[in-house]
Subunit: 218 residues, 2 copies
């Protein structure tokens, strides 16, 4: 059964170009899952801050983590309003006019209140999800967090309740009178691509590249 | 002569891992210039918002732009506190322990007040810079903004005065007791790569790909 979409609110509803906006949960989840990092916005002493960080989605919850000593996470764990945005850049849209230049992208903006996850089991589950978000299959191969590491890590959760996705795709939308210009127009596709993995200098001989890192892609 | 760095403030000074932080202006400018998009944070009715948008730097000023009808830009042009963050993802850092997994990245966080640029010449200069930021050499080939388009476009500027860069690079930093584990460790480099350009369906025959889009890279 299809999961219901997020309930639109005035602040998550596109005022311009509404065709680019969506509250469809599957669309939102796919973008959250593909994005490697999110940008987390919060207010501290009247000043907005936007911090890049790794996230992971488990069902209808988004998790972020960081050091228990982090100013950012300390400011957030009291339960202040936050915004989590992820952006996938898909291409440059090159038009015949400067005005119609654009970007192809898929983005999600989530609004809500981040709260600290204190329960040890849920915290461990979130950390597992964050490792698996980056490289599925990785967690089973590595040493899991010990008690001291768990204590030194803060996990915050945001329920995926209020938010929307925005997508632009396809060719440039030039004005009809510009089509005759002697100017190339089209799209340059862009994607995050992996290069050849670089083994750690202290890697023990005889340990091959694990399957999840061969031809890595999002 | 080297440009002086940004003046460190408590809110732009890393409390943890200070070696990753920098106020060096050249380092900050290089990251701003390489990043295709920024994430712009501001507060509206107590709620932080983080919006992806294209930016450009001209000297010690950062410009963003958008539709004059945009709620985001209307909220900001009055001169409210803002944060502009750019993030370049350089690689996955795969450690032997879950805890030491990380990301190689270069990021910049700028704090300040965005203000509307109303002067027509400066506005046009900013729009030119934004087009050139994405594809250097492009602006001279396209139809420049006309009066109506200029009127429909809002440009905002942020002086690059308060902010810092943060960089993580190199191999994983595993605990000595984990080095013996039977687990691959190293870095998977990542970069935004261009695919083959896709001409617009209505591109006039005989117009070749311009030089700035051949083997496009940041």
């Amino acid at each position: 059964m299809a999961s219901p979409g997020l309930v639109p609110t005035p602040r998550t509803t596109a005022q311009r170009l509404p065709a680019r906006g969506s509250h469809d949960r599957a669309a939102i989840e796919a973008i959250l899952d593909e994005a490697l990092v999110c940008h987390l916005g919060f207010v501290h002493e009247g000043q907005p801050f936007v911090i890049p960080t790794i996230h992971a989605r488990v069902g209808e919850t988004l998790y972020v983590h960081g050091s228990a000593a982090s100013r950012m996470l300390r400011a957030l764990e009291g339960g202040v309003p936050a915004c989590v945005t992820v952006t996938l850049v898909d291409g440059l849209v090159m038009a015949r006019s400067a005005f119609h230049h654009s970007m192809n992208y898929r983005s999600v903006v989530l609004l809500g209140t981040l709260r600290a996850v204190d329960d040890a089991d849920r915290k461990l589950e979130a950390l597992r999800a964050i490792t698996e978000h980056v490289a599925p299959g990785r967690y089973a191969q590595v040493r899991p967090p010990n008690a001291k590491e768990l204590l030194g890590t803060r996990v915050l959760e945001l329920p995926i309740v209020e938010g929307s996705a925005k997508v632009r795709s396809g060719p440039p939308g030039d004005d009809p009178e510009d089509l005759a210009l002697d100017c190339w127009a089209g799209v340059v596709p862009l994607a995050l691509r992996a290069g050849a993995p670089i083994p750690a200098p202290d890697l023990r001989p005889g340990i091959g590249l694990p399957r999840e890192l061969v031809d890595y892609s999002r």
